[in-house]
């Protein structure tokens, strides 16, 4: 049995009267190290909120999130990121005053970002290595030609890939992706699928929210289904596809729509 890298333990989140995540009992699931977990559910099911609770952007109303044995209740989002958690956002975020390359380079945990290193001036040599690494990652996500562009010139899909690249350059132990294929054209989607399969093969832990079930169920090795913030089902992609409740609640709704 591999150990759990991430544990979501009886977590609830309320926005005023709205029980966005966990209902009354709380949402619990765990992600063993090296797993590729798919997180699915209809619109408003609480998937993005769950990501925000894990990454510290939001704090749970009750319950706990535990990463690699560490309780994250008082950790800031930047602390959680530095513990090895990477995430993207449903609406891609970029730094408009930086170029595409800089947008990726800034992602690395960088000793050059301390005042001492600025005084010593020793950051230049490391910067070369970082630039090379950022270039490789950009190549991997298919943005090589955009390397010196400003982010304002990128399409929505390219922004998404840029955000993935910015996380990849940090070598996170666990990577949370929120709808990575939304707005991404099919050729880039295939590329993304290959990247995720490779990352998984490298032993990295992945949690991916996707509406594109065709994309997700092919590559994930287990799936958690949310509905109204609560756990509806979990299992392998095969089990999920055959689950009556899921078909009724999610696929059914999808087909009806």
């Amino acid at each position: 049995m591999t150990r759990d890298l991430l544990v979501v333990d009886k977590v609830t989140k309320r926005f005023g009267g709205l029980k966005a995540v966990g209902g009354d009992a709380g949402l619990s699931f765990s992600v063993p190290e090296g797993t590729f977990l798919g997180l699915i559910g209809p619109n408003g099911a609480g998937k993005s909120t769950t990501f925000n609770l894990i990454s510290g952007v939001l704090k749970p109303t009750s319950g706990a999130v535990i990463l690699d044995g560490k309780d994250l209740s008082v950790a800031r989002p930047s602390d959680i990121a530095s513990y090895g958690l990477g995430r993207t956002f449903q609406t891609p975020r970029a730094f408009p005053s930086l170029t595409v390359l800089e947008n990726v380079m800034v992602g690395a945990d960088n000793e050059g970002e301390t005042l001492l290193s600025v005084l010593r001036g020793g950051w230049r040599s490391r910067e070369r290595a970082l630039r090379a690494k950022a270039g490789e990652v950009l190549d991997r996500v298919g943005l090589t030609e955009r390397i010196n562009d400003v982010v304002a010139n990128l399409s929505g899909g390219e922004l998404r890939m840029l955000e993935v690249a910015r996380q990849l350059v940090r070598d996170p132990r666990i990577l949370l992706l929120d709808e990575p294929t939304a707005g991404v054209d099919p050729s880039l989607q295939a590329k993304l699928s290959r990247i995720l399969v490779d990352l998984h093969a490298e032993g990295r832990t992945l949690v991916v929210v996707e509406h594109n079930l065709h994309f997700l169920l092919q590559i994930a090795d287990s799936v958690v289904v949310l509905q109204n913030g609560e756990l509806l089902s979990k299992g392998t992609p095969g089990e999920i596809k055959a689950d009556e409740k899921v078909i009724a609640a999610y696929l059914g709704a999808d087909h009806a729509a």
Binding site: R76, G86, L98, V106, E113, S117, V118, E163
Partner: protein
């Protein structure tokens, strides 16, 4: 010819001096995304620290309590430290505040310092201030004192611009830009935004303290009137005037504003009345300038280093 030279020298001296403030403000605002409306306080902290460290111990009618009688360079260093200390004190509780709240709080801190200087006579004789501030013998190379101080101010400005440039061209500057662009995204890549913003705030206040020391040397007088909120508004206008995109623009904006004021002041008026009118005209024109510039370059658009091409 002689007056033109004198005006040029004054513009170089005070233009350079205030450019140090504008450069610091530029780092805090255009790069760090922090609105500091209390700039004058760090300037005052530097000037008073310099005066107190270099002046003789109190005697006679002096109300101030401390005079350390140290050499000028000790006072100069103390000025940088004093501004830095005041930045630590004021930045720590306030930097978590957003935009206009930070502006209001820094403004309030500056007003508090001003009223402290007025009311606590033990610091600097209250409203009377500290006169005859010590200054180093500037008669070097046979140049006049004014020329030497103008050059010193210019050198301080260059050193400040160089230090900031170096900071911003490094990975550190890139992280600072990222935080200003999008805090949530910056946190998602592990940037400690509280630490970086605090550091930027504190670092950028140090040259303001040095400028305060130099200002005290030049005027040989420090009193609360010299350090009113007008100074803060002045540097903000200069920053907006020059545009925040390049350090050179910042300096040119400041020089232009100082030049404009000096030229108006140099006009020989026939009567007191005319001089009064000119003085209010200067205020009005400065105000209009501020409004006009803000109209076409609103704050939100200001904080962008490189806009979409």
């Amino acid at each position: 010819m002689n007056t033109v030279f004198q005006i040029g020298l004054t513009v170089l001296m005070f233009g350079s001096l205030f450019s140090v403030l504008t450069l610091s403000l530029n780092l805090q605002y255009a790069r760090g995304g922090m609105i500091n409306f209390g700039t004058v306080a760090y300037f005052a902290a530097g000037a008073y620290a310099y005066a107190i460290v270099t002046q003789e111990p109190p005697h006679g009618l002096d109300q101030y309590l401390v005079g350390l009688d140290m050499p000028w360079w000790v006072g100069f260093i103390a000025a940088g430290i004093a501004a830095m200390a005041f930045a630590i004190l004021t930045g720590w509780p306030t930097l978590r505040l957003r935009g206009e709240y930070l502006a209001l709080t820094t403004f309030a801190f500056a007003e508090m310092l001003n009223s402290l200087l007025v009311n606590e006579r033990g610091i600097g004789n209250g409203t009377v201030g500290l006169a005859n501030v010590e200054r180093p013998d500037a008669n070097i190379l046979g140049l006049s004192e004014n020329i030497v101080y103008a050059l010193a101010a210019f050198a301080l400005m260059l050193a400040t611009a160089y230090a900031f440039r170096r900071l911003l061209a490094s990975p550190y500057g890139r992280a600072v830009d990222a935080i200003r662009d999008d805090e949530v995204a910056a946190q998602a890549i592990g940037k400690d935004i509280a630490r970086l913003r605090f550091q930027v705030f504190v670092i950028s206040s140090i040259p303001i303290g040095f400028a305060g020391a130099l200002y005290a040397m030049i005027t040989t007088l420090v009193n609360p009137d010299l350090f009113s909120a007008e100074v803060t508004f002045f540097v903000w206008i200069a920053l907006v005037l020059g545009g925040e995109r390049t350090l050179l623009g910042v300096v040119i904006g400041t020089m232009a504003l100082v030049g404009f004021q000096e030229v108006i002041r140099a006009i020989p008026f026939e009567s007191v009345r005319a001089a009064e009118i000119a003085a209010s005209a200067e205020d009005i024109v400065t105000g209009i300038l501020f409004i006009v510039i803000l109209r076409w370059q609103p704050f939100s658009a200001l904080a962008r280093r490189r806009q979409a091409a």
